[in-house]
Amino acid sequence: MISYIIRRCLQLIPVLVGISLLVFLMVHLLPGDPAIAIVGPEVTPDQIRQVREEYHLDDPWLVQYLIWMKMILRGDFGVSIVENVPISKLLLARLPVTLQLTGFAMIISLLISIPAGVVSAVKKDTLSDNIARVFAFAGICIPNFWLGIMLILIFGVLFPILPVYGYVSPIHNFPEALRHLLLPSITLGTALAALVTRMTRSCLLEVLACDYVTVARAKGLPEHVVIYKHALRNAMIPVITVVGLQFGFLLGGSVLVETVFALPGIGKLVVDSIFFRDYPVVQGVVLCYALVFSLVNLLVDVLYGFLDPRIRY
C-alpha cells in the first residue's frame, strides 16, 4: 500500500507539468489585452504601457513560461497583478476557505444522502422512498445560486438565525465558523446529496438482490446487520467513486456559492482572474486544483482497499 501511494505521488509530477503547460497556453491564447482587462475600459496608453512593462507581458510566451516554472520550482507562484500580493499568500489564505466549504458540503450531503438512499432502497415504493426520490430530483434541478439566495432570504432575513454573508476562521471562532459555513455548504452540497441518494438507492437495491444477502437473512441475522454490515459496504464502492469524481465538480461549483455568500475562496478568485487576465493567479490556482483533485482521487483509491478486502495494491 505504501509503495502504491509513493508511486501515485510520483506520477503526479508529469501530470502537473502537463497541466501547467496546458493552462499557461490556454490563458495566453485568450483574446483580449490583459492590460485592458486589469485596468478597465477607460484605460489610457500610459496605463497599458505600465502594466505590460511591469508584468513582462511583452516577453515571448516561452520565456514567460520558463520564468514562471523556475519560480514555481522555488515555491514562488509570483505576484497577482490585480490584488498586488504574492500568489502563495493568496492561496494560503483562500484555499482553506474553499476546502472547508467543499469539505463541509460533502460531509453534510453524505450525512443526508446515504441514510436517505438506504431508507429509499430498503423501503422501496413506499412514501419514504417517494419523498427521497422527489428530494433527489429537486436537488439536481434547482440551480445552486438561486437556492443560496433563497436560503439567505429565509434564514438570514425573514427568520434571521444565520448570517447572510462572510467567513470566520474556525481557528478564531469555531461555532461562528460553522454558522457562516452552514448555508453555503447546504447550497453547494444539495446537488451532490441528490446524486448520492439516487446512487446509494440503486446500488443497494442491486446488492440486496444478491444471493449472499439472501443467505444472510436465511441464517437469521437481524435486518440492520444484513444491511449495514453486509450489503452497504459492497454498495458503497461505486458510490465512493462517484463522490470522488464529484469533488472536482464541487470545487468548480464553489465559484457561484462563494460569490453569493461573499466567501473569500479561490473559486471566485480564479474566475475574476480569468476576466482580468491575471495570468499568474490563474496558472497558480489551476495547478493547486489539479494537485488537490489528484490527492482526493488517491484517497478514494486507498479507501477501496478498506471497503473491499479483495482489493490490494
Binding site: L30, P41, D46, V82, R94, L153, T259, A262, F275
Partner: protein, 507 residues
C-alpha cells in the same frame, strides 16, 4: 378665563418642547459608530496615483485634493484655501495651514511639489494628464506656483478630479511606492487601519483631521460582497449599513429599508450606440443618420427604465451642453430613404458588439434590433466578454457597438468632447472633424467660461450632426443604505461617498 389662558399656554409650551426634542434628534448629527460599506470589490493598490483603479473608489477615503467641486459644480477650497490665475500659464495656490497627514507630517508647498513630480513620473498612471505642468515653484512654505507648458483651461478641473489626490511625501520616501500601495497615507478624515487579504478594508477616524468637527463616524469598514443581491440581503438583515450598486428590481425594497442615492448623478457618463465611422457601412453618414432615425430613443428609454435621457455627448446638466440640440426625431420612412440613397435599399446586416458586463445595454440592443428590423436592417448581437470586446473596439474590429463614456471622471466639457479628438485613446468611432478639432484646441486655451461655452456649443452641434453615436442617455445605478444612516452625499463626479459627512443614528 385667566386659568384657561394659562393652561393653553402650558399645553402649547409642552408641544413646542416635544417637537423641538423630536426634531433635534433627527437634525443633529451624532458622533460614533462604524459604517459597514458593502463594496463589490476591494482594490489591490490603495495608492490614488497608481491604483489601476478599475472603477473602484474605496481607496480615496484617506485622501483629499487641493480643491473639489461642490454640489452646484463650483470649485471649493480644500487643501488650497484660494488660488490666483494671473495668466493662462500660471496658477498660484495658497495652501491651508495646520493640516497634518496621518503619519504626523505636515502638508505644505514642498509636499505639493513632490506630488506633482510623482504624478509626472513613469510610476503614475496619470503621467499624460500632468505632462501639461512645466514647473512647480515653491514661493513660500504655503504657496506654490504652477507653470504650465501651454494654456490649459481645464487645469482646475484636472486637480478637482480623482487624479488630484495629495499623498504623504514622508511615507513614500521612507517606505517606498510598493509599501504605499498597501498603506495609504493622506490628509483625509479617515486613516488606513488594515487591508485584509480576505476582502475587508478598515479605516479609522483621524483624530487630527483639520476640520475639527468631522468626521462623525469612528470608522468605515469596506466589505467585499461581489453579488448585488447578497448586498441587498445583507442590508436588509442589518449586517451592512450601505450597499454599493443594488439591483434595480430591489429599489422599492431598499427604499423601505432606508434610502437610495443615484451613482454618477452629477457626473458626465452617458451611454450610447457607437458606429465605426472608419469603415463600411458606417463610413457613410447617411447610414448612420438612418440608424438614428430608426431607433426611437424615447421609447427605448421608457422600456429600459431608470435612465436619464440625453441627446448628445454632454449631459443636459453640463455647462457646455448646447440647449438648442434636440433629440433625433423617430422617422423610419426617412431612415429607409437614406439607406436606399446609400445603396442599401434591400437592407443590410450588421453585428452589434456588447460586453457581458453591461446587461442593460443588452436590453437596449434587443430593443434596437427590433426597431432596426423595421427598416430592413438585420442586427446580430454579439455578446463578448469585456476584455475581448474592448480589444476589438480598440483595434477597430467592430461595426456597431454599445458603450458609455464619462470623460474619465472629469466635469469639464472638454473631458467628454475630447473623445472626438484625432488620436484620442477612446475614440473608437474614429469620428473627427477639422473644425471640431480647432474648436477643442481653442476651448482649452481660453479661460473665459462664456467664450468656452460658445465654442463647446458649436463643437457639440458638429458632433451630433455627424451621427457618430446614438445617445441613449445615462443608465442610472443606485446605492442603498439603512434608515439610520444620515448625511449620505456623493462627490460631484457621482461615485465617491463623502464619508466625512455621514453619521449613524442607531445606538
Amino acid at each position: 378665563m385667566k386659568r384657561n389662558l394659562l393652561v393653553t399656554v402650558l399645553i402649547l409650551a409642552l408641544i413646542a418642547a416635544f417637537a423641538s426634542w423630536a426634531l433635534a434628534d433627527e437634525a443633529q448629527p451624532q458622533y460614533g459608530g462604524t459604517l459597514r460599506y458593502a463594496a463589490y470589490d476591494i482594490p489591490g493598490s490603495l495608492d490614488p496615483q497608481h491604483c489601476l483603479h478599475r472603477g473602484l473608489t474605496t481607496q480615496y477615503i484617506a485622501f483629499e485634493k487641493l480643491l473639489q467641486y461642490n454640489q452646484k459644480l463650483e470649485f471649493e477650497p480644500v487643501l488650497a484655501i484660494s488660488w490666483d490665475i494671473p495668466d493662462s500659464l500660471t496658477y498660484i495656490f495658497h495652501l491651508r495651514k495646520g493640516v497634518l497627514f496621518h503619519d504626523g507630517s505636515s502638508f505644505n508647498a514642498e509636499v505639493v511639489k513632490f506630488n506633482f513630480e510623482r504624478l509626472q513620473s513613469d510610476y503614475s498612471e496619470y503621467q499624460a494628464d500632468f505632462s501639461i505642468v512645466r514647473n512647480v515653484e515653491i514661493l513660500d512654505n504655503y504657496t506654490v506656483k504652477i507653470l504650465l507648458e501651454k494654456p490649459y483651461a481645464p487645469f482646475l478641473d484636472l486637480l478637482a478630479s480623482s487624479r488630484g489626490y495629495i499623498i504623504s511625501e514622508k511615507a513614500v520616501k521612507e517606505h517606498g511606492d510598493e509599501w504605499f500601495q498597501k498603506h495609504p497615507v493622506g490628509t483625509g478624515p479617515f486613516k488606513f487601519q488594515s487591508w485584509d487579504i480576505m476582502g475587508t478594508l478598515l479605516f479609522a477616524k483621524f483624530e487630527n483631521y483639520w476640520r475639527k468637527e468631522l468626521p462623525y463616524l469612528d470608522a468605515v469598514e469596506f466589505i467585499k460582497i461581489p453579488d448585488e443581491t447578497t448586498r441587498v440581503l445583507a442590508l436588509e438583515a442589518g449586517e451592512v449599513d450601505y450597499a454599493y450598486k443594488i439591483p434595480l428590481v430591489d429599489l422599492p425594497r431598499v427604499k423601505k429599508i432606508g434610502g437610495v442615492i443615484s451613482n454618477g448623478a452629477q457626473g458626465n457618463t452617458i451611454d450610447y450606440f457607437l458606429f465605426n465611422c472608419s469603415k463600411p457601412p458606417f463610413n457613410d453618414k447617411r447610414v448612420r443618420e438612418a440608424f438614428a432615425l430608426a431607433i426611437d430613443v424615447d421609447k427605448l428609454d421608457s422600456f429600459i427604465g431608470n435612465i436619464e435621457p440625453e441627446v448628445g455627448p454632454l449631459p443636459f446638466k453640463n455647462w457646455g451642453h448646447n440647449p438648442e440640440i434636440k433629440s433625433v426625431p423617430y422617422d423610419p420612412a426617412k431612415a429607409k430613404k437614406l439607406l436606399a440613397e446609400a445603396g442599401f435599399s434591400k437592407g443590410l446586416t450588421v453585428d452589434l458588439l456588447i460586453r457581458t458586463a453591461h446587461p442593460r445595454k443588452s436590453q437596449a440592443a434587443e430593443i434596437a434590433e427590433q426597431m432596426l428590423g423595421q427598416i430592413g436592417v438585420t442586427v446580430n448581437i454579439l455578446t463578448l466578454e469585456s476584455a475581448t470586446a474592448i480589444s476589438r473596439e480598440q483595434s477597430g474590429d467592430f461595426e456597431f457597438g454599445a458603450l458609455h463614456y464619462g470623460g474619465g471622471g472629469r466635469i469639464d466639457p472638454d473631458g467628454n468632447l475630447r473623445l472626438f479628438y484625432p488620436g484620442a485613446p477612446f475614440n473608437y468611432s474614429g469620428f473627427t472633424d477639422p473644425t471640431l478639432t480647432t474648436l477643442l484646441d481653442l476651448g482649452i486655451r481660453i479661460t473665459d467660461r462664456k467664450a468656452r461655452q460658445q465654442l463647446y456649443w458649436e463643437a457639440e452641434k458638429i458632433i451630433t450632426e455627424g451621427f457618430p453615436m446614438i445617445w441613449i442617455g445615462e443608465l442610472l445605478e443606485y446605492n442603498g443604505y439603512n434608515s439610520y444612516v444620515h448625511g449620505v452625499i456623493l462627490e460631484a463626479s457621482g461615485y465617491i461617498l463623502k464619508t466625512s459627512e455621514i453619521w449613524l443614528s442607531k445606538p
